[in-house]
């Protein structure tokens, strides 16, 4: 267990372990073979190691509760890797700023590794309600904020980051954001204010995770895209990460 309510599942899956690039996800059946619950649940690939991969589960509903109770040795039915990676090679920044809320931390370990490999400095801004909920493994240059002030900055992670941006402490930043919707929206607004690139990794309901159900739309502001008659992008296929200015969170 990383933090209360967060469970790590490690499983053998050479395809997922070897092919996943930071930001991609897997779609996992709560119970293999069952028809209730029936649909897979999407989870970021948190870690890969040889032929094994890990996901972090925040247990808060039917499917995640079942998954969090998975016994050692049980079979997991996993489809993936799915979706697009974080666009960490966009070349329009000198410092990667990871903005993390809650279980959003799950997509940050592989991203950190990839950025370090690219030789890019990383600053991690991580917010939680209270200090017990922080899952702090393997984050680089960590700045912590808690809503109750039990650790680090007292307040939201966005306000903490705003202070550092105001003080011009970060050289040519690009934000990589994953967390609750409200936080991602605030991060997008902040990035627009400072004119810095910002990518958000979205969570929507998904049925298939592979682009066949059309169940995971996000409204888009992208006018060239809209010329095709479409008003939505699909989080599973076109995302899950998007350049914040192209979509309406």
């Amino acid at each position: 267990m990383l933090a209360p309510g967060l469970v790590t599942l490690r499983f053998h899956n050479p395809k997922v372990a070897r092919e996943t690039i930071a930001g991609q996800f897997v779609n996992v059946l709560p119970k293999a073979g069952a028809i209730d619950p029936m649909l897979r649940r999407p989870f970021s690939v948190y870690n890969t190691d040889g032929d094994e991969a890990e996901i972090i589960i925040q247990a808060h509903g039917r499917g995640t509760n079942i998954l969090a109770d998975t016994a050692e040795g049980e079979m997991l039915d996993v489809l993936g890797p799915l979706g697009n990676p974080w666009n960490y090679k966009s070349g329009d920044f000198k410092t990667a700023v990871l903005v993390i809320g809650g279980v959003g931390v799950a997509s940050m370990l592989l991203l950190t590794r990839a950025l370090v490999k690219e030789g890019l400095p990383v600053q991690s801004y991580y917010g939680a309600r209270t200090k017990d909920l922080l899952a702090l493994q393997d984050l680089t240059n960590l700045h912590v904020a808690t809503d109750d002030g039990s650790e680090g900055f007292h307040g939201s992670v966005i306000n903490m980051l705003r202070k550092d941006l105001e003080a011009r402490k970060i050289e040519q930043p690009k934000l990589f954001v994953c967390g609750p919707t409200g936080m991602m929206r605030a991060a997008a607004v902040l990035a627009a204010e400072y004119g810095i690139p910002c990518e958000v990794s979205l969570e929507t309901e998904m049925a298939c995770g592979i682009g066949i159900c059309q169940g995971c739309p996000v409204p888009t502001d992208d006018t060239t895209f809209q010329k095709t008659g479409k008003r939505f992008r699909l989080v599973c296929m076109d995302g899950p990460s998007f350049s914040a200015e192209t979509i309406t969170i």
Binding site: D36, M38, A207, C208, I212, C213, G229, F232, M237
Partner: protein
């Protein structure tokens, strides 16, 4: 005879014929649950499917409904996709040519909001037909758009009128997809038969609803949506059975099928083919799993041809005598 297994047991004949068209097995994938083939291809050898019923296509592209579009419910899901589709022009310029590369049959599903739109879409596809396009499935049963086909699908006269109109525009298979959201499916099945449809397919989704008890808000933006998945299988089966009793044209059974055993039930009830829908979202290769399982079932049961199962329901004489 299709061949003999090494253990000497004959392989069952899985082929199905709908008018002049021969399908390699009875398992199709349902409209709206398999995209236009390209997305699922990575996970499913689509040439092992009898065919693909493509996502409903309308004259103009439709963006679909705003989120939230899907909600899981007990053994099923509600959707309000809202017929998001690329429009018929992109369909014939991109999707059909792509699908033409595969050794599987294509059935183009059409949705529209007027008689003329249905006819125009069908005729436009007809003009650009590819060799493996074998027919059309007419969606008069989508519950998720305000101006959609359901106004046809719940009115016997309009169903008949539309079928007659479209029959005049094509010699390919014409399949009318019926809705379960009516008191009785029987008069609709008969109307389709009278108007010259080659087959009917049923069921489309049932109108359903889910509510967030803390906010008192409906969980779907369209308030109600279409229910699909294993939860609806018993309803679908009963409707196939009622349609079988009411008409003589072939029936394609749809609704909650996840396994070969589910398929066998539909065949016994009177369907000659089935479509796999929601199950594709869980296993994109659900269709070929079902087809394979069906072949094994037939072999184990010593049934030589899948057609032998069709309409083989046995209702005991005393039940029949009692009016059941």
């Amino acid at each position: 005879m299709n061949g003999v297994e090494s253990n000497g047991q004959a392989k069952a004949d899985m082929r199905v014929r709908l008018r002049g068209v021969e399908f390699k097995n009875p398992v199709l994938v349902a409209s709206g649950t398999f995209g236009y083939g390209a997305e699922a291809k990575k996970y499913c050898d689509i040439e092992q499917l009898a065919g693909i019923v493509t996502k409903s296509v309308s004259w103009k592209p439709r963006p679909g409904n705003p989120p939230h579009r899907i909600i899981e419910t007990a053994s099923g899901m509600l959707n309000s996709i809202g017929l998001a589709n690329v429009g018929v022009h992109t369909f014939v310029s991109e999707k059909l040519p792509y699908l033409a590369k595969f050794d599987t049959k294509i059935i183009a599903n059409i949705a529209a909001s007027s008689m003329e739109e249905y006819r125009d879409v069908l005729e436009h596809i007809e003009q650009h037909a590819t060799p493996n396009l074998v027919g059309y499935e007419i969606n008069i049963s989508c519950p998720n758009v305000k101006d959609g086909g359901l106004s046809f699908g719940t009115n016997v006269e309009r169903t008949e009128e539309l079928t007659t109109l479209l029959r005049a525009s094509t010699d390919r298979l014409l399949i009318i997809k019926l809705t379960p959201n009516v008191t009785s499916v029987a008069p609709f099945a008969q109307a389709c038969e009278r108007a010259g449809a080659d087959a009917i397919s049923l069921i489309n989704t049932l109108v359903g609803m889910s509510i967030d008890i803390y906010t008192h808000e409906p969980r779907l933006n369209t308030v109600t949506g279409g229910l699909s998945g294993p939860a609806i299988k018993p309803i679908a089966l009963a409707q196939v059975y009622q349609a079988r009793k009411a008409c003589g044209i072939p029936i394609i059974g749809i609704g909650g099928i996840v396994s070969a055993e589910d398929t066998v039930e539909f065949l016994i009830a009177g369907a000659c083919m089935v479509q796999i829908g929601t199950a594709n979202f869980v296993h994109p290769d659900a269709g070929i799993r079902v087809a394979r399982g069906l072949a094994e079932f037939l072999q184990k049961q010593n049934i030589s041809a899948v057609g032998d199962l069709v309409n083989s329901l046995r209702i005991r004489a005393e039940l029949k005598a009692a009016g059941w």
